[in-house]
């Protein structure tokens, strides 16, 4: 592990940790980072299972979209997709700032990323229930349990939404810890992996659930 990875973003108050020996296969990757990758792999298979169930149900159904059920709003969801892509950029900039030991920039970009997450969650709430009365898919007749189309939609997108919520809380906690000088660049990188994964999964969900 390099000195940069272990240096806290407040070097004056925390000593630099003793570097680990470089691993023959995993190089400088820290146990925490490898742990996050393993978690993300298992999480990817959870999403894979949901998308597979969706694919089988849809592929084997004579009528997928029943009369009276609303179509999904692609322009609005495309905007949410773009928002999540933007938040991935701010996250990667936070990681870059953390690697350079720039605490102020790290905090700024983490805050922007959290805003993106909050924006996405607000958008998803609006899509489901409507921020104003008379709007939202539930109001328009897309009811969980009434069709495979409705149920697979809600299960898959809400499972992703739960990840955005978890990720946003994770960002805010890390932001507070960074402000207190309790994080290092490796902590920000591990957080970044989780957030980019949430973006990556949405890219696939957007195509399979909304566009196809």
């Amino acid at each position: 592990m390099s000195a940069i990875a272990t240096a806290t973003l407040e070097p004056s108050s925390h000593p630099v940790a003793h570097p680990l020996p470089r691993d023959e296969y995993f190089g400088d990757a820290t146990p925490g980072k490898i742990g996050m990758w393993i978690f993300l792999l298992s999480d990817a298979f959870s999403f894979g299972g949901l998308l597979l169930a969706y694919g089988i149900l849809r592929g084997g159904s004579e009528v997928w979209h029943h009369p009276g059920e609303p179509t999904l709003g692609i322009p609005f969801t495309a905007f949410l997709t773009f928002l999540l892509i933007c938040s991935s950029v701010t996250m990667v900039l936070a990681v870059a700032a953390a690697n350079e030991g720039n605490r102020k920039q790290t905090i700024l970009f983490l805050a922007l990323t959290a805003l993106g997450g909050i924006g996405f969650l607000t958008g998803q709430f609006h899509e489901y229930f409507g921020l104003t009365p008379g709007h939202g898919l539930v109001h328009e007749g897309l009811i969980f349990g009434r069709s495979a189309y409705a149920s697979t939609f809600y299960v898959t997108t809400s499972f992703h939404g739960a990840h955005v919520l978890t990720g946003t809380i994770y960002i805010l906690v890390t932001l507070a810890r960074t402000a207190a000088g309790k994080t290092n660049a490796n902590d920000i990188e591990i957080l970044g992996l989780f957030w980019h994964f949430v973006d990556l999964i949405w890219i696939l969900v957007f195509t399979f659930i909304y566009l196809l």
């Binding site: 296969y25 592929g59 084997g60 322009p75 870059a96 980019h196």
Partner: protein, 97 residues
Amino acid sequence: MTQGHTSRKTYWMVFAALAVLTVLEIIVATPSMGVPKKPMVLALITMAVSKASLVGLFFMHLKTEQRALKLTVALPFFFPALYAVILIAEAGWRLIR
């Protein structure tokens, strides 16, 4: 810490590619564009996998990781993806036979 260095310029280029691909996806999926179903499905899946790969390779820094980590992450997807295609095709085939 990432193994290699990825510049901010690369991040913005990836961002531009993701934005352009998203716009292309929406154009291809718009019914009034009249793209036939099969090429549309193929194009949309190709673009989605490309976008996901860009995020994984550059934002998650897989491109500059050690070979062992790359293989650990990438290999487990091959067979599930293959079986997914087989299972979904089988469900569709039972419908039309």
